[in-house]
Symmetry: C2
Subunit: 352 residues, 2 copies
């Protein structure tokens, strides 16, 4: 099965179609079970997909969109007349996910023009196409970053030391990830590379997911607490910082997982370059700068409870912002599916 | 009992003598049970003190020294001839703690000149004197910082927003703490103040201890993850950063809990002042700059396990440096028991 994410005992994709007949199913790595159990979930019906996306078996903005498209395909197989209802149910699973709505709008638009008898087959092809497009975009992001890693290795002669934050890897996308794409391309072509993984409190996506996906591909890596960035960068242990992005303003100010701005500050102070890796769809030309990006505040219990156990006294107040904004002046470049840009080059990139 | 740390249902000191007769005992807050249980442990014998210090019922450099002095007093009551042996046993409880050895050396020196019959009473007085000196030094640190907080309040008209890191409070000392001293003095005199508490991975001293001790004194505070510092400082939510120190080099470079340097960088970037609060004994005039300060690396399991549960895949490598060095150029001043100094004024302060 050419699209299978499973390869022997390891995985290379978080979602894939299994089988080619009427009993085919969507298989996903159940990310709620990581890092302790690497198990898959099978989605055979729309209900399965709705429950799986809602319960975060899949997460990461690009992957949620891809998964929703697969959910529509499952719905079309059961009832080609249920297009609108299926999209509405899937859209409600994660109300704030932009990619989810983008993927569903595209499926609804394209399928509404297709005769019902052909919708099941077309929907499956479309869902696969959306996945393949993500793979291609992430690969181009990796190609934009790979020359930077090669140049570092040529200069230092040692394994390239990359620091990242949170999980902007293949578990959040389909195959290469964004921040990790150049790392995987380099590792696959024999470039020695080592990744410093920041645990990413409060949800620990670095500790639980980035470590796991790097291990699946055999990329050397070391886990540190988020607070270790200053020490590592100051000690010369990091050659380049590469992070993902949730939204990039027109001037290059970048919203990403809380803590990203501290890494960018420490990198600049240490003279280490800091890159943001994201597809062009993450740029919001209508958003002039970081002040216009709303910062989601999440449940305080994500801070107060770890593995279900309280880490602070009963009654302690906590605040939990999901993202921070890294000013464009601290970002050396953007690795995109249309190549590498500096913030100053963004206006031209938007026009292209 | 004038030295009691217990006041109604709350505590104000982490160690105190209880009683005045032959059954008197040293009482400590058992910090291994915080923040979930606020219970005390009674030390009646040298064995109790050795076990209590070794198991970290008390922690924090100043408090460990004070606790060891109390342990010597308990030993002298049982056997005035056991001075050397008692000091040796106490010194072995926490081999790297500088204050522990300093306090034991002082007890041994002073008591060796005292007739055995008088040693028990003298040792108790001496242990109390060492505790009182810490209280006085921390109070002077607070007096050095209080005018800064008052000036901020006069300028802004709102509660002074202080950010700190780790636990450099009364739980680590005897009464005022270092980083918290100005906060407690201000709060006690009616100055409105609010503390942003950073959880301080991997050992969570901020989440578990600083929140608890601020709550005991009724100081408003909010817990955030370590990564939130950039967002808070960038958003103007912090007026001043005050942290403690483990060791300060002659040029002002400061080793403190890992993550401190990121807060100092973010503060400077946001135009917010950053102060280091410490007694003069924390300055190491023989250490020219931060590069000469060895950074302790601790067990990787502190990163990998939270509440005994693994947060990363089995087999994940982790590194765990306990401290980082904040360069003097990012520190606006040092709040000491001899007043406020800038890094440029340190050479003169050492000569005084």
């Amino acid at each position: 099965m050419k699209d299978s994410g499973a390869r022997g005992d390891s995985f290379t994709r978080p979602i894939w179609w299994e089988g080619d007949g009427p009993a085919d199913a969507v298989v996903v790595i159940d990310q709620t079970r990581l890092p302790h159990d690497a198990v898959t979930a099978r989605w055979s019906t729309l209900d399965d997909a709705v429950a799986g996306i809602g319960s975060m078996q899949v997460r990461g903005a690009p992957l949620i969109g891809v998964a929703a498209a697969h959910g529509v395909a499952l719905a079309m197989r059961a009832d080609p007349g249920s297009l609108e209802a299926a999209c509405a149910r899937l859209a409600a699973t994660r109300p704030t996910a932009v990619n989810l709505r983008w993927a569903l709008d595209r499926m609804a638009r394209d399928l509404s023009e297709v005769p019902r008898a052909a919708r099941a087959a077309t929907a499956r092809r479309l869902s696969q196409a959306i996945a393949d497009e993500d793979v291609a975009a992430c690969r181009r992001i990796g190609e934009a970053g790979l020359p930077l890693l090669r140049a570092i290795h040529e200069r230092t002669g040692r394994p390239v030391q990359v620091m990242t934050h949170c999980n902007a890897g293949w578990l959040a996308c389909v195959e290469w990830g964004t921040a990790t794409a150049a790392v995987y391309l380099g590792h696959g072509s024999g470039l020695p590379v080592h990744v410093w993984v920041s645990e990413t409190r409060p949800r620990n996506q670095g500790a639980a997911l980035t470590t796991w996906e790097l291990a699946q591909r055999g990329v050397p890596h070391t886990l540190v607490v988020d607070s270790a960035a200053g020490h590592l960068l100051g000690a010369g242990a990091v050659d380049v910082v590469i992070v993902g992005a949730d939204r990039i303003a027109a001037n290059g100010d970048t919203a990403n997982k809380i803590g990203t701005s501290l890494k960018a500050l420490a990198a600049r102070d240490a003279g280490v370059p800091c890159y943001v890796a994201a597809p062009m769809s993450t740029f919001d030309a209508a958003c002039p700068d970081g002040r216009a990006i709303p910062i989601e505040e999440r449940d305080a219990d994500e801070v107060l409870l770890v593995n279900g156990r309280r880490i602070a006294p009963e009654g302690t107040a906590a605040r939990n912002w999901g993202f921070d904004v890294t000013p464009a002046r601290l970002i050396d470049g953007f690795l995109t599916d249309r190549g590498l840009f500096t913030a100053a080059e963004l206006p031209e990139a938007f026009r292209a």
